[in-house]
């Protein structure tokens, strides 16, 4: 850490010198404020605020704040945002002005959007590439699996993002593993964003305002994961009037209630969702004598948020998320019981402060907890596996707008981690087995960053950032050492606070954009990132048994370098947005379990003693065409990608395709709102090349058992996956905004009922004695055509 301060101070000084050189002569003043939705008071993230005469400005930040510093004079301030009417106001800039803007909605399916004087090419000029933002409302028009609108499933429809498997909410971005995505909910990290072994995500779309996914060119204020940042912000809560939304579907029912506490000053939102299928698994529906009586499954999510504007410079937010899944199974005939609870809790407290109208500060305190338990009992034998992770964190982020050419960001982040990779308790009757003590791993993770986005001239914009991160594991901790019989012979004991391992890394982040004209641009970026928390997985499907483990003396931080370049072009006056991006990534210190490792190996041992390390690389091209406006809108995304790995201890040290390797990935998404009609239709068609799997290549007999010899890792490709989904929503007749509104959504998943391969396995059938013994390959498909009905309401 000693190296940090001199370097950072030098950077600061240099940047300030550079910037202040430009601001001599005339007096400068700042116009700043918040951009909000006029009907609800919700702040708008990413609204374009600019000066008409100069065609320069910037976008509002996550809290809806903008700040433009200019020379004294008369200007016209314009604000645009998709789905809202353009706002224009003449201003006399003779002193610092605070102008809060309230935007009025307009249907995106309505009349043509006026483009005179507009600056929709903000996105084209921005140095940020490889980023997708989704409007939650438009997600709701798309067909949803079993009627559950799901944020994570929808982002899998974007190019460069691949689903981990049918029904799985794990996702891979540009060839990276599922643990390489930083998932943030109001700044708190969510470690396991799935319910029901991955079929649904934990995000209740009724409570969400913004979703953005950054796949490349990751700015310096984000760190800790290599492949992507999924930043999800919750709604603040309507500060003008009380409203409720909800629905009942096949799987769960939801209800959200929001409103002001003090009108226009503070508001709240509370949102809940729960499955109800477990109510049918009890008496009187299932009798006590039934073999499976006592089995049930339920999940719930609860999101709550409060916000309070203390003054025109200060705002406070308190958000929380609590979710849980509980799975119980009983088989009375053999005395077997299983209980598997897991869940996340996050709480964040944020304070926004504005200094001098051109420095915006956000400080957040965060608590995040993920716990997973696997409990089994068979007659007298009891076994429990517990794993989890708990973080306490402080973040402080400054955004400084010194003048219209620069936007500077800098800040600091500190996380105190407590990892419980796996703990087990086992007993048989009265005898407790020695499963060892719980070995927690404690660590301090720190990062400091600075980033400047500099508009050199009308055509060129540069963004340069530097992030410095460190990860220090401290005791109490015990490291088990093994002999060559693989038996534990010795332990090194670290006392509380003693350093076990430490890492310090520098992460440069550079991006540039060049505007060819108002319709097109080219961009390029370079991101170097380090990751200190890793998910080690036993199976090819993400399960709650996957454990998060920290970097240590054995596990080095993962390193990722990503080079990306792209060509961006808008057509038909920005109605169509298209892009072609190319990327190349190198990954180091990738993690796999050693061949033949089993979950019980981690008990009474360090979880990282069973791992092996290697490297990877991925490259690909992503083509994206999006129609943003009109009655018919949507997008097509196509990705051509390769991703490989090489581990010395796996696959005989030969290169192999990663399990995330999928050659082609195509998504077609369309939404049509019939003009002057109550109907809205949605359609998605997805196509993905088959996954690579490891298959057996020979068989042999030992001790009367038929055993398989497996071939090269991931060498065999399953058949391609493709599927069509369709949905139709009909709104209620009553169009009066104040009254109760409802709608029915009918959806069909997998319209042509394709038997998509979920899994291929090999098994024997028949009998050796009468010569009918045969080995067969079988393909398991999960979901045939599945219709669903959901009832939604709003008031």
């Amino acid at each position: 850490m000693q190296k940090l301060f001199p370097i950072l101070t030098t950077i600061f000084l240099l940047s300030f010198l550079l910037i202040s050189n430009q601001s001599y002569a005339q007096k400068k003043y700042t116009v700043s404020g918040y951009v909000k939705d006029a009907s609800s008071g919700e702040s708008l993230f990413g609204a374009n605020v600019y000066i008409k005469e100069l065609l320069k400005g910037n976008s509002t930040n996550a809290y809806g704040f903008y700040s433009i510093t200019l020379n004294e004079g008369s200007y016209t301030l314009v604000t645009t945002y998709l789905g809202f009417k353009t706002f224009e106001k003449s201003i006399e800039l003779k002193s610092d002005l605070r102008i809060n803007i309230e935007m009025e909605t307009t249907a995106i399916t309505g009349e043509e959007v006026t483009i005179i004087g507009e600056r929709p090419e903000e996105k084209l000029k921005s140095t940020q590439m490889s980023k997708d933002e989704m409007e939650v409302e438009s997600i709701k028009t798309l067909p949803a699996f079993l009627g559950e609108v799901d944020v994570l499933k929808t982002i899998q429809l974007l190019p460069g993002v691949q689903s981990a498997g049918e029904g799985n909410t794990g996702f891979y971005v540009r060839g990276g593993g599922p643990d390489q995505n930083l998932i943030l909910l109001d700044e708190a990290v969510v470690y396991n964003a799935s319910h029901l072994f991955g079929f649904f995500s934990v995000f209740n779309s009724d409570a969400i305002k913004n979703i953005s996914l950054t796949k490349g060119g990751i700015p310096a204020n984000y760190g800790g994961r290599l492949s992507s940042v999924l930043d999800i912000t919750m709604k603040d809560g309507n500060s003008k009037s009380y409203h409720g939304t909800g629905g009942i579907g096949l799987i769960s029912s939801r209800f959200t209630f929001e409103g002001p506490i003090v009108k226009e000053k503070s508001s709240f939102i509370i949102s809940g969702r729960r499955t109800f299928v477990d109510l049918f698994m009890r008496k009187p529906f299932i009798k006590e004598s039934n073999n499976a009586f006592g089995s049930s499954y339920y999940f719930y999510d609860l999101n709550a948020k409060l916000n309070y504007s203390l003054s025109h410079k200060d705002r406070l937010f308190l958000s929380g998320y609590f979710g849980r899944d509980v799975f119980k199974y009983t088989n009375q005939s053999n005395g077997f019981k299983a209980e598997i609870p897991w869940g996340n809790s996050t709480i964040s407290l944020r304070w926004n402060h504005i200094f001098n109208d051109n420095i915006f500060l956000n400080t957040t305190l965060i608590y995040s907890d993920y716990q997973f338990e696997l409990g089994f009992s068979q007659t007298e034998f009891d076994l429990r596996f517990i794993s989890g992770i708990r973080d306490y964190s402080v973040k402080t982020d400054f955004t400084y707008f010194p003048n219209i050419k620069h936007t500077m960001k800098f800040g600091l982040q500190y996380i105190y981690h407590k990892f419980t990779p796996s703990t087990a308790e086992a007993s048989s009757g009265d005898v407790d087995f020695d499963t060892g003590k719980t070995i927690n791993q404690f660590a301090h993770e720190t990062a400091v960053y600075v980033n400047d986005e500099y508009e050199i001239n009308d055509k060129i914009k540069l963004s340069g950032g530097l992030r410095m991160s460190s990860f220090i594991q401290v005791g109490p901790f015990e490291r088990f050492l093994r002999n060559d019989q693989n038996l534990i012979t010795d332990t090194i004991v670290y006392s509380k606070g003693e350093t076990v391992s430490d890492y310090f890394n520098v992460e440069p982040r550079i991006a540039a954009s060049y505007s060819i004209n108002t319709e097109s641009s080219v961009k390029a970026s370079f991101t170097r990132a380090f990751q200190y928390a890793h998910l080690a997985s036993f199976s090819s499907i993400s399960l709650p048994t996957d454990v998060w483990i920290p970097s240590s003396s054995i596990v080095k931080p993962q390193i990722g370098n990503q080079y990306a370049a792209g060509y961006f072009r808008d057509f038909m006056d920005h109605v169509f947005e298209t892009s072609l991006e190319l990327y190349y990534k190198t990954l180091k210190n990738q993690i796999e379990y050693k061949d033949g490792a089993l979950p019980e190996d981690n008990v009474n041992d360090n979880a990282d003693n069973n791992l092996t390390f290697g490297k990877g690389w991925s490259y690909g091209a992503e083509l994206f065409v999006k129609k943003k406006y009109g009655a018919l809108n949507g997008w097509i995304g196509y990705t051509l990608a390769y991703t490989k790995r090489q581990f010395d201890e796996v696959n005989n040290a030969e290169e192999f395709f990663a399990r995330y390797d999928r050659r082609h990935d195509l998504s077609l998404v369309m939404s049509y709102q019939k003009p002057k009609s109550r109907w809205t239709f949605g359609l998605t068609w997805v196509y993905a090349s088959g996954n690579g799997i490891t298959v057996p290549i020979s068989r042999y007999f030992v001790g009367g058992e038929l055993l398989y010899e497996y071939g090269k890792r991931n060498d065999y490709r399953m058949d391609a996956y493709h599927r069509l989904d369709f949905s139709a929503t009909i709104d209620s007749k009553n169009k009066d905004v104040r009254k109760f509104k409802s709608s029915w959504t009918f959806a069909v998943f997998n319209v042509y009922s394709r038997k998509n391969p979920y899994f291929i396995y090999f098994d024997d059938e028949g009998n050796l004695a009468d010569g009918t013994l045969q080995l067969k390959a079988k393909q398991v498909s999960l979901f045939p055509i599945l219709p669903s009905v959901t009832y939604n309401f709003k008031f």
Binding site: F381, L383, S540, G596, G703, G704, Y761, L768, A777
Partner: protein, 287 residues
Amino acid sequence: MKHILNIIAFIICSMFIQSCETDITVDLPNPEQRIVVEGILEPGKLVSVFLSYNAAFFAPLDTNELLKYTVKNAIVIVNDGVKIDTMKEALPGIGYIYVSNGMIGTIGRTYNLTVIADGKTVTARTTIPPPIALDSVWFRLQEFTDTLGFAWGHLTDPDTLGNNYRWLARRIGKDKDFVAPIGSVFEDKFINGKSFDFGYNRGKSINSEAEDDKNEEEGFFKVGDTIIVKFCTMDREHFEFWRTAETQISNNGNFFGSPSTIKTNVKGGLGIWGAYSPTFDTIIATK
């Protein structure tokens, strides 16, 4: 413990998903031919070995075909630290079984094997550990029945780490051979020095066509059975082989496990050159 993941998979399928299974054709590459070793080493028994070859995965499996995969005319040498013996092919022309000339398994000795056949050479090594007997064995009825139950044993594990066990059972008059249930091997990592009860259900030999392996008696012992329990100790590599093999067997058909590689102690080949040190006990199953 090992079949836990298998159970999760089964539970999910049966509770929520109407999964659909179809037979498919998979084009597999031709495998490299490897020698498969199955060692027979027990105290007091004549040291011998079964040698076969692996076969392409979908190759036919009837008993006539299997003769193609026996190893014939192999040179098999075993060294027990006291003398070196070249094994005899017990059935010339058929191959498969090779026996030593009077080398008897002795507790504490390490046996080094070398096999040369068809231009290939494989080597392996194993040790016969001292036996550890169960304190007692018995039959216990399951709760909901008055005829069916499991076989139980009481074990006191020695205080040193490194004991590995395997449980096998045979019913007199009903089983030709000893049968191991799933999860038959365990180590003393969690039970070191402890004295405790444990039970096993009745294992099933591969593709058994017996009635009682298909009806409600499947997996259970019955009142009236005479059960011989063969409780063995083994060395670390032998334990790892069966642990990974049983994981593979129980993972077949389970998508939550990854294809598990079986840990073989045969360098250059497959299978296990593994020694057992058994002790025998009898249970007469009564109510």
